[in-house]
């Protein structure tokens, strides 16, 4: 993973800060001198398409290199991103897809993780799907599997790029309710075109690029 701007020597309380980052694709400037100090909490990005929301998330998780500026992270900070696309391994089971994101070594840890995943699957309306190949799920079910993979990755910084895309209103509410316990005391950046959905997460900061 290439990331020329991440600096690990950073204060422990402050997990993430971006300083004067600029990113262009050809002649199009997507991010222009953007700076922000992130503290633990939920940040919402709901600007129009093409404003650089996804680019910012990609920079923060190290998939994109900035033209200038720096991204500062505290040492050993783990950042994961839920992409706009599900990016699941279609031939693997729901359980395998989520387990892949968890770094576990002992059998006991793995067994305990499996139990927690089963419970979480029930809470998002996917009970009994743990052994099903992802290819057999509907679009909305896949989205929820991708969401659980992000939540179970046990990261300090969680980046969500339109995580509830394709889910109906009632299901969105249910899913957000089950997401809440996972995001406490973490930095969450939530990209959405329907900011109402984030109100359900509790207090949040609207971020402007």
């Amino acid at each position: 993973m290439s990331m020329n701007t991440t600096n690990c020597a950073y204060a422990t309380e402050q997990l993430l800060e971006v300083k004067n980052i600029t990113k262009s694709f050809g002649n199009t400037v997507v991010l222009d001198d953007f700076s922000y100090k992130f503290e633990r909490g939920v940040y919402v990005l709901s600007e129009p398409s093409g404003a650089g929301k996804t680019t910012l998330l990609r920079i923060l998780c190290g998939l994109e290199v900035t033209d200038s500026g720096t991204v500062l992270k505290a040492p050993d900070t783990k950042t994961v991103m839920m992409f706009q696309e599900d990016r699941l391994l279609e031939n693997l089971s729901v359980m395998a897809n989520i387990m892949l994101a968890i770094q576990l070594h002992s059998k006991e840890q793995k067994q305990s993780a499996r139990e927690r995943i089963k419970e979480a699957l029930c809470e998002v309306g996917l009970e009994g799907t743990e052994n099903k190949p992802v290819s057999e799920l509907s679009g909305g079910q896949k989205r929820r599997v991708a969401l659980l993979r992000t939540l179970f990755a046990d990261a300090d910084i969680l980046l969500f790029d339109e995580p509830l895309k394709g889910l109906d209103e009632a299901l969105k509410q249910q899913v957000i309710a089950s997401v809440k316990p996972f995001i406490e005391s973490k930095i969450v950046i939530w990209v959405t075109h329907t900011p109402e959905e984030v109100k359900l997460l509790g207090s949040y900061t609207a971020l402007q690029l």
Partner: protein, 305 residues
């Protein structure tokens, strides 16, 4: 995760409704397919799995085609009426039964199988390893590309004659099978690796899926379909080239040796009987290898969870 029974109940209801809708859509799609195929099945009776009738009719069609060609063969043999030119299917089977009484028959089949499978297995291992290394290190790819292209374009006969000088005859069919299958496996694995979905690679980077986990979950699982096709193709090549090498190299106790003797003594029934053995062994061998590959793929998928 805190569990809220109210949430669960309403999610479950929603989940069931969604599943119901999904299955309803699926039924409609299946019904459309059934109708377009001219079938008259009642609503709700359409199933994803093939029915017994469909399987039976598929096997019936195959058997029918086989019987048709056997009849054509028998008629041609009766019309020609010269065993030395064309042996009838009945006589071929009779010869096969008499050959099967001999211990040498089984030993020859066993040894040929062993040699050809050894060559195929070696090609599978070396080809896959080389492809992985070529994928990882561009220098290795540049180095091996001309070699693989050369092996691919050299005729089997040239290799056999050349290898007769270099290796002892028992190892000839192993070497030839290896050389014929190697480019197929190498190219399939390398192409599969190069065409791995970049979005999945990014996902693996973000979720820190590294080492063996990454190979298993991302690369091997993406590679499996092309690897299965390549293995099937390579097995066919191994058989054809391996037997051809035996016919030229004449190792003791081999199918090739018996084919050669049949040619020398103008024993056409034996030639047909041994050819039938090759066809049956090739089909059986391919089935076994494909089962092994599928079993390995299933184990691999299971080990990811």
């Amino acid at each position: 995760m805190a569990h809220n029974p109210h949430i669960k109940d309403s999610i479950s209801a929603r989940g069931s409704a969604e599943k119901g809708a999904a299955s309803a859509d699926f039924s409609v799609e299946k019904n459309d397919q059934a109708q377009s195929a001219g079938q008259t099945q009642g609503a709700g009776r359409v199933q994803g799995k093939p029915t017994v009738r469909k399987v039976a009719s598929s096997w019936g069609a195959r058997l029918g085609a086989l019987v048709f060609w056997l009849v054509v063969w028998q008629i041609a043999a009766v019309v020609i009426n010269q065993d030395i030119v064309l042996t009838s299917p009945i006589q071929t089977i009779q010869t096969l039964f008499s050959l099967a009484q001999l211990r040498e028959f089984w030993v020859s089949i066993g040894l040929s199988l062993l040699r050809i499978f050894a060559g195929g297995a070696l090609a599978f291992t070396v080809g896959s390893l080389l492809a992985f290394l070529s994928f990882k290190y561009k220098l290795i790819k540049i180095l091996f590309e001309p070699l693989i292209s050369t092996i691919k374009s050299i005729p089997v006969a040239s290799f056999v004659i050349l290898l007769l000088i270099w290796v002892r005859t028992p190892y000839l069919s192993i070497s030839i099978s290896f050389l014929m299958a190697l480019p197929i496996i190498y190219i399939a694995v390398l192409e599969g690796l190069l065409s791995t979905d970049q979005q999945l690679i990014e996902m693996a980077d973000v979720y820190q899926i590294h080492g063996w986990q990454r190979i298993k979950a991302i690369y091997l699982s993406q590679l499996m379909p092309s690897l299965k096709t390549a293995t099937s193709l390579a097995m066919g090549f191994c058989w054809k080239s391996g037997i051809a090498a035996e016919v030229i190299g004449l190792p003791a106790f081999s199918i090739g040796e018996h084919l050669y003797n049949a040619k020398v003594y103008l024993d056409t029934p034996a030639l047909f009987a041994w050819t039938l053995v090759v066809i049956v062994m090739s089909a059986l061998g391919e089935k076994i290898v494909m089962r092994l590959v599928s079993w390995a793929a299933a184990r691999l998928e299971k080990s990811c969870s």
